[in-house]
Symmetry: C2
Subunit: 487 residues, 2 copies
């Protein structure tokens, strides 16, 4: 019933995946009762509409299952096998009852069911001899097949394939020709990110991915690298959830390094899959552009507010929000070496490139001091597009005799992992701390005395007008700092 199952099966049908057989255990039972309570679909028709081959079998008849599987293997497109079953079959009066889903059967019923099936009701965890023999034979057959396979692997053409696999398993990140960005130039981080994706994909055979129908906006097109399945660009369609789940599957498989992409606000559609990526430690690269109120006139529906907070609160997940193109490169260098999911939260609007080159260690620690002033009484913390505002505000504060250090935090989670000694070197405990973020920003109170943040949804307007409207201005930063110092 879940929407993702339709999305994913539509993708399988579109690509006519020919090594996919799905067995659907159709017992017509849900937790609340019979499926008809909530569901009257024609499953065969539904899958045929998505270009699958549909077969049916009695799910309790082993010979029929075997024959149906053999038929399925002959198809060169995805196959659904509808296996008609009875839930709790053999459990006497509980067979077919929806209560058997969640509640234990009880000792009495188990004993009576065993008896009815011809087993000794007293015996538990008992394996009859004939079953044992059959399973032990299966082990021998499997070992034989493995030996034959290993023998084959040593012959052509498998030698070549093994070498290709080795290259996938041990990607040479030193071969990446990272793009360079000139300090002072204006580059949206979605653009720098697009160049980085292309550079990585060129050098690393297993690096590929696509967008949920937003490649032109996400800047994720891998140029001259063709379309999946022959090439590297996957067109996932408007299916964020399936895209992220499929990308999780590719990452879980092993040798490939896949990315997915959408607008940051649409990360909501794939949140369950982002959580699975974190739980399972999958190296899935999420590209999320249009990262704040600076997305243009689409308005509040397209302007993330709570999303940075929600992903920073997710364990085992790294949310990178680079301040400029150069930090963007540094973030990718870290993510490629991290066996966890990473998200790249990138701007639509242009951002000034702050430096040609960056002290790699600074970004690796999640945050670093981007501007140090002697005798500072204030620390300004920011990420992404707000780092420039912090730097500019620092200069204006200096003119007023208020010395402020400025800290850029491209990865909040990495900063939280650092020892207090490091954090104290960049956020001097003797200073008053103001964090600036054009988002909910509640998590910044961990480091800050005050947070200049979005306290409502956004609005429709040009990026610079909205930043002004919502108080992300030099005068407002100065006012907040002075209020902090007066506390």
């Amino acid at each position: 019933m879940e929407g993702i199952s339709y999305e994913a099966c539509a993708v399988a049908g579109r690509y006519q995946l020919d090594n996919l057989i799905m067995i659907y255990d159709s017992n017509r039972i849900t937790i609340e009762g019979d499926t008809s309570l909530a569901w009257t679909e024609d499953v065969r028709l539904r899958f045929e509409a998505q270009d699958w081959k549909v077969l049916e079998t009695d799910g309790h008849n082993y010979e029929q299952i075997d024959k149906t599987l053999e038929l399925a293997k002959r198809e060169n497109r995805p196959v659904l096998i509808i296996a008609h079953t009875i839930i709790a079959k053999g459990a006497l009066e509980m067979a077919g009852d929806h209560n058997s889903h969640g509640a234990p059967l009880g000792d009495d019923l188990i004993a009576r069911a065993k008896e009815a099936a011809g087993f000794d009701p007293e015996k538990k965890f008992y394996i009859p001899d004939d079953v044992l023999v059959r399973f032990r034979c299966a082990v021998e057959e499997g070992e034989l097949a493995e030996r034959e396979w290993n023998h084959l692997l040593k012959q052509t053409p498998y030698i070549e394939q093994n070498e290709a696999l080795e290259r996938l398993l041990h990607p040479d990140f030193d071969a990446i020709e990272w793009p360079k960005f000139e300090a002072g130039s204006d580059v949206a981080t979605r653009d720098s990110n697009g160049k980085i994706l292309n550079a990585i994909a060129k050098a690393i055979p297993g690096f590929f991915g696509g967008s949920a129908d937003l490649a032109p906006s996400n800047k994720t097109e891998l140029k001259d690298m063709g379309d999946f399945p022959k090439g590297k660009n996957v067109h996932y369609g408007i299916r964020e959830h399936a895209m992220a789940a499929i990308t999780n599957g590719i990452a879980a498989y092993g040798p490939l390094l896949p990315f997915s992409a959408t607008f940051f606000v649409f990360s909501d559609y794939l949140k369950p899959a982002a959580r699975i990526a974190a739980l399972s430690g999958l190296q899935h690269f999420f590209v999320w552009t249009h990262d704040s109120i600076g997305v243009g006139e689409d308005g509040p529906t397209h302007q993330p507010i709570e999303h940075l907070s929600q992903f920073r609160a997710l364990p085992d997940f790294y949310t990178f929000r680079p301040a400029d193109a150069t930090e963007n490169v540094a973030c990718w260098k870290i993510a490629l070496k991290t066996k966890k999911p990473s998200a790249f939260v990138c701007s639509r609007q242009k951002l000034k490139v702050l430096k040609d080159d960056i002290a790699y260690g600074g970004v690796e620690n999640g945050g670093y001091m981007i501007k140090k002033r002697d005798n500072a009484t204030v620390t300004l913390i920011a990420s992404g597009s707000e780092v420039m505002l912090a730097l500019q505000s620092g200069c204006h504060l200096e003119e007023r005799g208020i010395m402020a250090n400025v800290v850029s935090v491209p990865c909040y989670e990495l900063l939280c992992e650092q020892p207090n000694e490091y954090i104290d070197t960049i956020i001097d405990p003797k200073t008053k701390v103001l964090a600036i973020e054009a988002a909910s920003g509640l998590e910044w109170y961990r480091f800050a005395d005050d947070v200049l943040r979005m306290e409502s949804f956004g609005a429709s307007g040009k990026a610079d007008e909205l930043f002004k409207y919502f108080g992300f201005t030099i005068p407002n930063v100065i006012e907040r700092v002075e209020a902090l110092l007066a506390r």
Copy 2:
């Protein structure tokens, strides 16, 4: 392509909604290019599989559209009209081009297209006389129909229906017989919440709802009130996203007060609809049970960690997490009067009822001091199941000569809305503050010097074992408080 469209249309098909005609503008274009890039579905078959009637029309032929709509109105089930269209029709060389979706056509093309269509290319925002006459006639026809309708409304049987509508529009919340809970008894807040839902539904005609196939676990069954559409219990199936979107629609319609329900961790599946509820100011009641690591052996997949943070960061949305059954009642009293979405985050495990009756004002302010001690040097803040731990720890601290106030915060967002003067009365600025929450809890740093929180995913085990394992124990609270005082 989005999964929610399948979920919602399956529900429409299941209930054979007979006042629903959907027109599908089939121009075969997406942002990345032709739909065939990502999509090969047979739309007719797909909707027929979901028990819809499917009609087709040339989407540019007005007479055919009119005839098709007349046919559709005669059906007594949901109807899809596939309208075959050309994107940017009439825009000469851009007709049918996917670039016409996002990019402006340009002055030159617009002028040439006007000329080709027989218009004066110089004229902008021009309405030809015959069009004007036709539209003015339509206004007159509409006014006539409205007058007839208003006349009808004054006759039987409409008088009775009007009275029923009045009762829906002005629900009498004073008629609710709120359940009472005995201090000292053990009641899971999912159970108290279930009793509250039943009490409200009995007294308020427009209050109804259902769960995404988890009613027995969410405790949302409205007893003896029948199944939708004749009764009040809706079986949404395993379709969280459509459930929440449909509930949004019902709330937007006006006179009804709908709720939806699932496990808190599955709120991920409906996050986009929760955001729409907040953006649109819809009075949608979200029931989210199984609210922490205390959900039993299902393990980390079923244990929310980041979810409280993510919804507290969402603007215009209230996340209630009551500490006991009595707070639960107080939270509902507030939510019924709030024209915004509210979520009820309830425990699976039993919680001690702390009070028979609660100072209503305390909960209305989001948080209140549940235990005050003279000369306190410490404030413990908690919500939900951790309030009991805070109270117990306060007693143990007192034995050690450390006086701690205890603050219960059933609604973080409401507390944040209070003036600083109020907050200072419950969280004394002279005290060291420890917040306790069995979740990510980053947002508590706004009020707290330290937060005892979940810093990882959960684990599989019984609630009490897991609370111990993750440090939610009296000794650990004491240790954290002593460390704070020693800072």
